[in-house]
Amino acid sequence: MKRFTRDQMAARVARDIQEGAYVNLGIGLPTLVANHLPKGREIFLHSENGLLGMGPAPAQGEEDFDLINAGKQPVTLLPGGAYFHHADSFAMMRGGHLDICVLGAFQVSATGDLANWHTGAPDAIPAVGGAMDLAIGAKRVFVMMEHQTRSGESKIVPRCTYPLTGVACVTRVFTDLAVIDITPAGMRVAEMVEGLPFDELQRMTAVPLLPPVAALGAA
């Protein structure tokens, strides 16, 4: 079966980010999205550790370890960017000023609950960082994840079994198989990977899905 690669997922997320959007890309998979933002489109990348207008990684040898992103990797600042302290940075997040954040996830529930910070494993070192602030703060919360775990379990679940990051906060889920919206009516498929029948997607998803609106006539 055909699946979106990680870069294809990132490119698909990037397509949904309009010009002028203030965007936070979570650590891990979501950072890939930056590589796929159209060059001509001005998009403002926010990093929780106190910058807006984040640019690409610096050339090797030009790293400045006072200029890093949330993943603690060296980055650059675009002309027009700004620095600020942590309380101001999280005011931007909590205050609803970000248009979009893109987060990785362990699980997303049918009602948009997000679990992405802890597997619940008793010996794990818990660490939450800014995930809970992003989950509840941005106007739209995009989740970017594999559709299934390595052992083939659906990461879209009726109720999260892992500890929650936020309640009813996810707007849209981008997986390697489909793009799915959390709507008041339920989870509605917006797009599927080419050639994947809706029934097959449903079979791999532990929550009842609504078919794409465009496909309703054919359903």
Binding site: G50, D66, M132
Partner: protein, 232 residues
Amino acid sequence: MINKIVASLDASVADIPDGSTIMIGGFGTAGMPSALVDALIRQGARDLTIVGNNAGNAEIGLAALLKARRARKIICSFPRQTDSYVFDALYRAGDIELELVPQGNLAERIRAAGAGIGAFFTPTGYGTPLAEGKETRLIDGRNYVLEYPLHADYALIKADRGDRWGNLVYRKTARNFGPIMASAARCSIAQVREVVPLGALDPEIIVTPGIFVQRVVAIRDDAVRAVAGAAA
């Protein structure tokens, strides 16, 4: 004449007693006041409660303090890092207490302490394990958790330049927790790359006014670079 410049790192932390609550700036190693933390290790205070974003990297700075078993408890948002093995081992052995706080609530609790706010309702963490047992309230259709300020006895922070009144400016994302921690501690100590004459800092660009800073200590520029290098 008021002069908050302290002659040495060791002198700047000499009076910190056992049992203190100490805020330590930095996000990873950016803004981490490693020279001050090293001085604190030499000073020997123990049974400390540490407030910071992370729990140390490799065996430098905060990690070295933990390794020396000086901390009883750490209040932070993201202890687990690729090189946080010192903390990880202490935590797994039950040798350090952890209060995990979402990063924005950590920042806002520190800011609230500095701003004299008694408590605040935050939407962050509602419905999650990190809000368990906490007071909640529905306000205008949204659910909030009540969080309390985080005060400290001392704050150790890193800034770029400072003057004898304690005014500070920072460098790039090394700013992070510095300004709010300075406001939340009874005694805030800043290590700076350079001490500048009074009036050299444009009043429009001072990020932390001296009212929040009790001591400033200069460290050699190469020391800053060495710390930055170690972070890579």
